[in-house]
């Protein structure tokens, strides 16, 4: 089989030596101030020397009320830059990874406890805060969100752009706009959460309008050759919800605005979602969007079998492969995949002697 996983890829000005991406995964490891801690430095720094071409930092909140939990990472204040920059600086070493960050607002799914503390909703006065959604329509079982008016939508849009400027100061190579998993921007897209009857709701065009507006402003503020991508939920997995056909339309609109890639995850808008989870279960979403919208895609979700990851690329179903939990389970996934597929990659000097298969790799 042709080996694609270890082929280079150029995306905008970003030269990636292989197709392996560390998927953004929340660590719930800040204190309650959103700052990066030693945990983040160690976690991301290690992944940055693990052979993956690109590491994308977890959902990082553009506003304090946009955090999923009180312990989520933030970028709503200038004081957040220093801790993030330390991570990027460490990663930008010989044979280190390119670094991306996911800009996020959790919307009506914000203000919950970290999952290992139960993940229950936190209320104002009880460690939580008022939450925001596309509409004043709650995620089932959660409190009713505040529906933003024009002025508030403008404030939130500005927060995204301010966050981007801080990400630029920290030195990130790439920004991913989080429009998935039922969070704020996803809640505009999905008819399950957007019941607005103004310009920001209604038909598909209306529901896409606010996420596209945010994207347009980010694109204008981010250097033209620097990569800006979007993560979407390719389907809600609910009858009457967002569909893969909607995703194709949205991806075309994003592409027209200068989007470099779409990462295809799924679900998160409703507890009624019916998902059949298995190896590569979200790949068809990536394949269809890539084919029909003509945009680069990242496939994600149960792709930790390196042979399967490679096949997805060989079949032209994605341009990049994001590994999430597989990377938590095995922070040297990329090295081990390289051994399995007999690929070639660069290894930091300190580690070249650690396995016979790495001795003769270029350094």
């Amino acid at each position: 089989m042709t080996d694609r996983l270890f082929d280079p890829l150029t995306l905008g000005a970003l030269e990636l030596p292989n197709r392996i991406v560390v998927s953004p995964m929340a660590q719930y490891s800040s204190e309650d101030d959103g700052k990066a801690t030693d945990w983040h430095l160690m976690h991301y720094g290690n992944l940055a020397v693990s052979g993956a071409a690109l590491v994308i930092l977890e959902a990082t909140a553009v506003l304090p009320e946009g955090r999923v939990s009180p312990r989520c990472l933030g970028i709503w204040d200038d004081t957040h830059v220093e801790g993030l920059k330390r991570i990027v600086d460490f990663a930008h070493r010989p044979n280190g990874a390119k670094m991306g960050i996911q800009l996020a607002h959790a919307g009506r799914k914000a203000s919950v406890a970290p999952p290992w503390q139960g993940g229950d909703a936190l209320l104002p006065g009880g460690g939580g805060w008022d939450i925001w959604g596309a509409s004043d329509y709650p995620y089932p079982g959660r409190v009713t969100p505040i529906m933003p008016g024009e002025e508030e939508l403008e404030t939130i849009a500005k927060a995204y752009v301010d966050a981007l400027r801080r990400a630029e100061q920290a030195g990130f190579d790439l920004i991913e706009l989080h429009c998935a998993h039922g969070y704020f921007l996803n809640s505009f897209l999905s008819p399950l959460s957007n019941t607005r009857n103004d310009a920001w709701g209604g038909g598909l065009e209306g529901r896409m309008r606010y996420p596209l507006e945010i994207f347009r402003r980010l694109r204008a503020a981010w250097p033209q050759d620097r990569v800006l991508g979007v993560r979407i939920s390719g389907t809600d997995w609910v009858e009457g919800g967002w569909t893969v056909e909607d995703s194709v339309v949205f991806a075309r609109a994003l592409k027209a605005e200068g989007c470099d890639y779409v990462a295809l995850s799924s679900g998160g808008s409703s507890p009624d979602q019916k998902i059949s989870v298995g190896p590569g279960y979200q790949v068809p979403l990536s394949a269809q969007v890539r084919r029909e919208a003509g945009i680069a895609t990242i496939a994600v979700g149960m792709l930790s079998d390196p042979k399967l990851a490679n096949e997805v690329l060989v079949r032209g179903e994605a341009d990049l492969i994001a590994i999430g939990r597989g990377m938590l389970f095995n922070p040297r996934w990329a090295w081990h995949a390289c051994q399995t597929l007999e690929g070639t990659m660069r290894v930091p000097d300190q580690y070249f002697r650690c396995h016979p298969s790495m001795r003769n790799l270029p350094r």
Partner: protein
């Protein structure tokens, strides 16, 4: 109901409890500047501590600036190096492991190339690229091999000074918070070069007979035991054989282990080699899985001292067999733990010891437990 694999049974060494039998073997990273700890060291060691080994051994750390094997080696030869070392220790402990340190002097193999430069003597090119060359010291003025610098033969004053440097470094290691100290007596470095007749041609009380060749390593063990807290373990890494005709032998190692034990040493870490020209240790040998285990086994039986086995132990099953057969008390994982910093956590998965990811750090464990459930629901293995 299955019994706990031996790997995951606790072990007590003097006053120190280890949660399991897996140790990260000391391995030089050659990435320090002037012996100082930096972010690379912290990320590297803290990640491995997170990976479940009971004991993380910090790489050979020089007792003297000129005792560095390379320009990139760690050091604790002055108090200014303490603050950085403390951060290293703190993170290892916060991530659930005990912290150990190997203190070392490179002897006639000092001032050499970093591993990726070739492990040889520094070349003109290396020096032009900024590497510093100095004249190393050794038991005799007899170079390691052709092309290597000729060491300066240590005087009795030098030897007294070296003993003080080992003691001062040990004191700093204790202040930095390390749980135990290992004296590097292996791999052709200074103390091993006193032991082996291949390098020691002295005619005074530090050379000649086995007793004389053992004198300095034993004095240093004695010095350290006297200054260390009563409950803190002291270890030594030995090259149990030179693998060379006329060199140090396994029989010599049994004698040395007995003498070390009599001086309060708690465990012998059983490696080998280091006086062959190629490689930092003995990489020119034809080696196989567990090739040094017989040394740990024999010293454990004949010197009646706990031992650690090391060397090409790749899998959890191999480590388990070493322990189950009573050949060692601890198993050190070296390059394989670089290749897989979560070696111990993965071994637990393989041996069915931690199906719910309870040993994992929380930010990983909760993601993985759900993930594993869905994978297993599909009839697959993690």
């Amino acid at each position: 109901m299955s019994t706990t694999p031996r790997i995951f049974t606790p072990f007590t060494l003097r006053g120190l409890d280890l949660k399991n039998r897996i140790v990260m073997s000391p391995m030089a990273m050659y990435i320090s500047d002037e012996g100082e700890v930096n972010d690379f060291h912290r990320l590297h060691y803290h990640k491995i501590a997170m990976g479940g080994a009971a004991l993380v051994m910090v790489e050979q750390t020089a007792v003297h600036r000129e005792g560095r094997i390379t320009n990139g080696c760690l050091g604790l030869w002055h108090d200014g190096q303490l603050a950085g070392m403390k951060t290293l220790v703190d993170g290892i402990k916060q991530n659930g492991a005990r912290a150990g340190i190997q203190i070392s002097h490179g002897g006639r193999k000092s001032s050499a190339q970093r591993a990726w430069q070739g492990n040889g003597p520094l070349t003109e090119e290396d020096i032009a690229n900024g590497e510093e060359l100095w004249q190393p010291e050794g038991p005799s003025d007899f170079p390691f091999a052709e092309g290597w610098p000729t060491p300066r033969q240590m005087s009795l004053e030098d030897i007294a000074r070296l003993r003080r440097q080992f003691s001062d470094t040990a004191r700093r290691a204790i202040e930095a918070g390390f749980d135990l100290i290992e004296i590097h007596m292996a791999h052709g470095y200074l103390l091993q070069s006193f032991l082996t007749p291949l390098a020691n041609r002295r005619t005074d009380r530090y050379g000649g007979t086995l007793e004389n060749r053992m004198r300095l390593p034993l004095e240093i063990a004695e010095d350290l035991r006297a200054l260390m807290p009563k409950d803190m373990p002291l270890l030594a890494r030995l090259s149990c054989t030179d693998w060379i005709e006329g060199g140090w032998t396994m029989e010599d190692s049994v004698v040395l282990a007995r003498e070390l034990k009599a001086r309060g040493l708690d465990l012998v870490d059983c490696s080998s080699g280091g006086n062959l020209v190629r490689g930092a240790t003995n990489s020119s040998l034809a080696r196989g899985p567990g090739y040094q285990v017989p040394f740990a086994d024999r010293i454990r039986r004949e010197a009646e001292i706990p031992t650690m086995a090391v060397g090409m132990i790749h899998t959890g099953a191999q480590a388990e067999a070493v322990l189950a057969e009573g050949k060692a008390d601890l198993v050190a994982i070296g390059r394989r733990i670089l290749y897989d910093p979560f070696w111990t956590l993965h071994a637990a998965q393989e041996l069915g010891h931690d199906p719910d990811f309870g040993h994992w750090p929380q930010p990983y464990g909760w993601w993985l437990e759900k993930w594993a459930r869905s994978i297993r629901a599909e009839g697959n293995t993690v």
